[in-house]
Symmetry: C2
Subunit: 196 residues, 2 copies
Amino acid sequence: MASSNYPKGLAKREEILTAALAIVAERGYNRATIRELAEAAGLSKTGLLHHFGTKEELFAEILRRRDVVDEAQIERATSAGLDPKISDLPRLSSGVPGLVQLYTRFSAEATDPEHTAHDFFRERYERARERSRAVLEKFRAEGRLPASVDPEQAATALVALLDGLQIQWLYDSSIDMAAEVAFFLAQLGLDSPASE
Amino acid sequence: MASSNYPKGLAKREEILTAALAIVAERGYNRATIRELAEAAGLSKTGLLHHFGTKEELFAEILRRRDVVDEAQIERATSAGLDPKISDLPRLSSGVPGLVQLYTRFSAEATDPEHTAHDFFRERYERARERSRAVLEKFRAEGRLPASVDPEQAATALVALLDGLQIQWLYDSSIDMAAEVAFFLAQLGLDSPASE
DNA sequence: GTCTATACAAAGATAGAC
DNA sequence: GTCTATCTTTGTATAGAC
């Protein structure tokens, strides 16, 4: 997907992504046109398109990175002996309103089967469900989750809940996403030990 | 909002909305340009824009109608002595994939505070939460819902769940929205009598 | 490989004639 | 109330300079 691995190209790609993220965060998705993004990164539109073939690819790359950062954070917490604090999920990247908006709008647009990022999101949702299911299954095996709860069904609901909460939060920032996720997990009967 | 109340204008508006809905349902949101919508309704682009100032207003009107139809259906069921079958919610208009896509994409776009339909959705979400809360509260008063469940918190989660499920369903139609909602309600401890 | 300038198609919106 | 014509802005493709 990347057009090159040369040092200069890589550095410029970083610069573009950073600038793009800042634009999206500050002025919103609508104002994030390739002209604006190019200008912010200090090159022409076509210069930007040399590195990222299309606008969609650029945004997909931003979200891909968000996922990498989030997963690394979860990984670190897990290997440190902590339980993955699922109720913290919405706090990970969601502190950045621009990122949440980008994710929400882009995932909605890519709903179109012919959208470039359609497969990206389809697979992403599959992975999200699968990972959530694995965690819930582990909890169930440890006796922390009632056997009556179907991990697969719960995982799908959890992923849906996160998406839906982000939308509502974009319309009303008083929505407490973390509290809602905690509520959901409590309803599942998840025994959460000393969650600070 | 409407440009006129003359019989001819009203009839044309109906025709436009019906045609627009068909286009969206059949060819998706992206292909639903005002040119295409105008063509389908048998007039020019500007002819269409005379009736609906902008594309956004047209779509907002379609969704407004979806809500009216859905609410009427719920109202009818309720006054017939039936409980509002919340788990049937995703089945109401959601049988029509085009409508679900329209709703999902439009609600994501209107996330931008400067979008014409922003206030429409903000208020719509408020109403949705409020109505869900009222129903859950009623159930709790009837002893069908554990007193430990906070109706407000549960209402927000329910609305979020519905939105999130629709997104996932658009990527994978094997997602069973009704089953997921039923699962959620069961986890709340809702005592659902003879749900057929 | 990296980039700029030019050119173009399609979108939504507006002005003014009929 | 409806249309033609025009305007602006979007994203993208092409040609070619360094």
